[in-house]
Subunit: 526 residues, 2 copies
Amino acid sequence: MSFTSYKSFKQLQALSHDPLDLTKKGVLTPARLKKMQSEGLGFKLCFGTERVTDKILDLLFHLSKEAEVHKKMHAMQAGEVVNQIAGYESEKRPALHTAMRDFFDERNPAPAAVKASSLAFEEYQKLGDFMKEIHEKNQFTDIIQIGIGGSDLGPRALCIALERFHIPNRRAHFISNVDPDDATSVLNKVDLHKTLIVIVSKSGTTLETLTNEAFVRDRLKKMGLKPKNHLIAVTGKGSPMDDPSRYLASFYIWDYVGGRYSATSMVGGVTLSFVLGMEDYKELLKGANEMDKHVLAHEGRKNLPLLSALLGIWNRNFLHLPTVAIIPYSQALSRFTAHLQQCDMESNGKRVDKKGKFLHFETGPIIWGEPGTNGQHSFYQLIHQGTSCIPLEFIGFKESQYPNDIKIEKTTSQQKLLANLFAQSIALAIGQKEKNPNKFFPGNRPNRILLGTHLDPKTMGRLLSFYEHKVAFQGFLWNINSFDQEGVQLGKMLAVKILDLFVQKKKKGGSSFPLGAAYLSLLDDL
Amino acid sequence: MSFTSYKSFKQLQALSHDPLDLTKKGVLTPARLKKMQSEGLGFKLCFGTERVTDKILDLLFHLSKEAEVHKKMHAMQAGEVVNQIAGYESEKRPALHTAMRDFFDERNPAPAAVKASSLAFEEYQKLGDFMKEIHEKNQFTDIIQIGIGGSDLGPRALCIALERFHIPNRRAHFISNVDPDDATSVLNKVDLHKTLIVIVSKSGTTLETLTNEAFVRDRLKKMGLKPKNHLIAVTGKGSPMDDPSRYLASFYIWDYVGGRYSATSMVGGVTLSFVLGMEDYKELLKGANEMDKHVLAHEGRKNLPLLSALLGIWNRNFLHLPTVAIIPYSQALSRFTAHLQQCDMESNGKRVDKKGKFLHFETGPIIWGEPGTNGQHSFYQLIHQGTSCIPLEFIGFKESQYPNDIKIEKTTSQQKLLANLFAQSIALAIGQKEKNPNKFFPGNRPNRILLGTHLDPKTMGRLLSFYEHKVAFQGFLWNINSFDQEGVQLGKMLAVKILDLFVQKKKKGGSSFPLGAAYLSLLDDL
């Protein structure tokens, strides 16, 4: 069955012609705000400011049953081959990121995917031993992670988010771009004598990463340092990078863990455990695992990622809103949206279903955003009064991370932060009628708030997994493959052709790729 | 006349029903790529991969004549009152950011706006004297800028972009969010003994900025340091912050310079001249001024910001594409898109025209993006194969900033960067027909490349001004007020009400704002 042929789809479509008007008197009430919230694992998801009724919500959950999302989630976590397009050449793999963290409960006697979980546990133990040694030798203060995409965004976002929990005098840096200025700028900031460098590429063939590895090896040698004493590899077994003789240590990942879902594998593990220590790193994994179990255990509104996924489906497929702004009211999460941008858009930016049929409905939205309150002084003008309607997902915490706060005019900074978050949620929903047209706010901007207590490592793990599963649930609903990324291939292939032109040029003038040559010739007289 | 009643609007609308198909054989040719480019001030704007024909371009330029955009640009730079809504209460001010940098040509005997230019020059000279002193005393290594929105994003983006030109051992930091973790995290990274702190708020009343100023003053005092020896004010004359007795130095800005256009005023000046030195800061201003003059001097395709604005209009109002991804293939510009997000969305995210009439066409798009090649490993999947069509504005440079580069497999990293940029532009335009539906790329993703030689301070100034004027031209075309931001008021007002509840709560339980109280009560059992 396809998404648009489910019975509840048609019922929802009928209801979507006249969606709830949040600006109408008596619609958005305190009672609605209090009732329309669901809680679990220390989070509350407040969705009174979405344009849904109980009837719509019930239908959305019915839709999720028709799409058998729970069955699919169980299958995914159990290691069934979910990454495939039936009848066509495709990756044909499980998607087992949840197995990277289900070896706790001292130890889980029956992990969903026994083999994967057991291999992941081995690496986790290896990592623990390695970090113990590093800690005892006390020789390194800095770590540079070289990776791109999933080998960069998730680990980087988590490192920044948990800076408050970093071991004193340990710092993490990241090099991702093939732009040589990226590596130069980072290398200018560290003393390589005291620096570990972790190279992360599952395939061991990522252009940017190998280039930057060579760049750093070159620098180390020029400084009279031995690369082998500084470099760590994270890669797939048997990849061109799987050569332990060239690295201080090597850790493994597997093709059944997609890059954008890999933050809790060794892809994030080395850098995170270096700056956080193993204990807090473990808390992070445990938090993620708790949310993995939460989505298996709950079927209705208590299943927070599913609830969030369904609200997103309402906005995307029924209200036809093309983007989602994810706005954390937490400076610590300043790069979390960049991670979610990949996690969501790379997973669900698809146009064929799992049988290879072209879709005639909208899939993954454009994800963007910056932290609040910063965004209020930037792009919120358009959100409040522009001609495009943008649904928002807010994230907030009751407490700040650091105990430092200051009371000014009777309130703390944290209270000011929360006051702004709540005020925006309400303002966007109800708008403002005004005679001066320039002070008129249309309202009806659907939004929801995910509210937590305190952003510590465990909470961060839960939040990470919350979004991984929200994305997966949406993919299950649309019946698409959220785990491949064929869309990156064409550009890669053409880039190789253009690189050939750069090489040929010196000899003759290359025209094996005329369009590329045309661009190259534009460079000549710059 | 309104936008949609121009003669060329209707002609363009007729043509838009059957837009150019870039995937058709013979459409995207090397000749087209070479012909469809325009150059000026060291930049080439390559737009062969946009879905336009010469006829459409001619009509777009005709549209710009009907909208009298040149007259409006001249009026703006000459200091006419362009920030207003006729017949309604509004700010009624000029928009004179160009006057912040038109006092060169040793010195311009006839600046467009004599008085504003002269006042700006005074501050510029004051800044020079102050920086000379700071340099001689050699007491400060770090500077923290406290500001939000325009007092943060532009200066921060420029600081990062020009890191390669920073004076050795000078570092800039930024605190913007009212989240107390933002200030704590930054303060943990500096030695306040050696740190200048510049507080930037035009009104002198910005909640976040005043709160963070108090936070930092408190910290300085606790350390036994005198705030007056460290703090610099940038504010409007007569604002609550205009109290030179409390600051080491005070610099002025004026209400006719909008926050999002203020990077070349003292809002950016103090921090930028501290890290760059006055000479390079001057180059930045000169570059911006050159682009200001460029847009006055040229009417047709040679006017690069206008050309870019018109291509944007085609995508927004005729192809109905709601977002624009701005992707610099330059790690130095990693935060430039965040600045443009404000500059564009706050300026043109409007729903009334300059007479207060509600609009029935789309205005400012959603601006988002991250640097390439990073984005290729993240959200490009959706751009290539998703169900939403996203136009792209690429920015690239022939050379890297630092001379360090490395040749691997016969090409440098910079060549790899450019190869990817060109490859993406072509791939997005032409797509790929394939039997395997999962490897099918629809193509026809309109995109253009702004190509420069080297990102130095002068080029950065030109680029900044390029986008300021692109945004202004679009506003002129739509006949909206690109210089106010009424949309930020409603949320501010409700936040004040909620802050009251935080205060009252301790006493009774507050219900002066029941919706706010409902949210507050959700915090209780978290």
